[in-house]
């Protein structure tokens, strides 16, 4: 694996990690909003 390949793989891994975190935050936020709306 060349240094460029390694760098690209690291960037991909970071992007995947960021996307997973974003998805979790979105699902959490949506759940809170829906529960709040149902309770209110």
């Amino acid at each position: 694996m060349t240094p460029e390949d390694q760098k690209a793989r690291n960037q991909r891994n970071l992007a995947i990690a960021g996307s997973v975190v974003l998805f979790i935050v979105l699902v959490y936020g949506v759940t809170v909003l829906r529960i709040s709306a149902a309770a209110g």
């Binding site: 690209a8 793989r9 991909r12 992007a15 998805f23 909003l33 709306a37």
Partner: protein, 320 residues
């Protein structure tokens, strides 16, 4: 087929192996799989659908609406990734698409399929959570229609490919409207009809001056199959229908006098360009390019006019 069509070997883009090694795929290659320009159009038309639904009296918490819009955008991007997975062979021989990540060798085909499939599932699930099952089901149907019905079946089979396949590109405002209201009223389907009728003249104008590309790839676009004259007549017919459908929002109260003026002027100019194209010399690619470029301005202008009118309706209680 036109005598001007260049399908010689010299017109082919270089084979991937002769272009040198592709750069390693970073996140930007995967972003390119999502067809960002198509996504931006989907976000815009879906946002207009949402605002129109609010103006019609529906309500969804704005935070949930934003997440729903993101889910619709990701669903559209996922469709693009699955399309690039399936069409990698034809993308490689078309100059317009040869530099996409899969034909370029940056992203392996199975990875494009996995990426698109995973995002499809996540986007539908997220939309179900943020809005309702009707919108989520419609988004799933849109992805199914674009990938299975259009990409896998119609695109290589019939010259009517983009007419029928255009339904997938026209659905985002309906999905967005359903996300806000849980319903699909006639007004939402009018927005669908505008994009649906816009698609044929838009893509056939492109095909008229990119005919060689489609011929090399073996895609039965109308100019390759029926010839230039028939294509230009079809473009004019759809342009007239489009201009008429552009007025329809007024009938259901989605647009007022300002919208009507914009729709008449922009629709009239669309028809004029279609007439110019019909009368132009067969070898003159200028009118087709002009119509293609204007078609993008037209769609943006019409939807922007709906957006402005609906924003005024929503803002009225706060102003008065």
């Amino acid at each position: 087929m036109s005598s001007t069509t260049d399908i010689s070997a010299s017109a082919l883009p270089p084979h991937p192996e002769k272009r040198g090694p592709a750069p390693a795929a970073g996140p930007e290659a995967y972003l390119a799989l999502l067809k960002p320009r198509v996504m931006s159009l989907v976000i815009f038309t879906a946002a207009v659908g949402m605002v129109a639904a609010y103006a019609a009296g529906a309500y969804l918490h704005p935070g949930l609406a934003l997440v729903s819009l993101l889910a619709i955008a990701v669903g559209a991007g996922a469709s693009g990734a699955l399309n690039m997975w399936w069409d990698a062979d034809i993308d490689a021989v078309m100059a317009r698409t040869a530099n996409r990540p899969v034909p370029r060798g940056q992203v392996p085909r199975p990875e494009a399929a996995g990426f698109g499939g995973a995002l499809s599932a996540l986007s539908v699930a997220l939309l179900a959570l943020s809005s309702n099952y009707l919108a989520a089901g419609l988004l799933a149907f849109t992805i199914f229609f674009y990938v299975i019905v259009y990409s896998m079946w119609l695109k290589r089979l019939t010259a009517q490919n983009i007419v029928i396949g255009g339904a997938a590109g026209a659905l985002p405002p309906v999905v967005a409207w359903a996300a806000v209201s849980g319903d699909m009223p006639v007004a939402a389907w009018i927005l669908f009809a505008i994009i649906f009728l816009w698609t044929p003249p838009h893509f056939w104008a492109l095909a008229l001056y990119k005919e060689g590309d489609y011929a090399r790839a073996g895609i039965p676009m109308l100019p390759n199959v029926a010839g230039h004259d028939a294509t230009r007549r079809q473009i004019l017919i759809y342009s007239v229908l489009l201009a008429l459908s552009g007025i329809a929002p007024v009938a259901v109260g989605m647009g007022g006098f300002v919208y009507l003026a914009v729709a008449v002027l922009m629709g009239g100019y669309f028809v004029k360009l279609a007439v110019d194209l019909l009368r132009a010399d067969k070898n003159d690619k200028g009118p087709a390019k002009k119509l293609f470029a204007y078609s993008i301005v037209y769609l943006f202008g019409i939807f922007a006019a709906v957006l402005v009118e609906d924003l005024v309706v929503l803002a009225a209680p706060f102003i008065s």
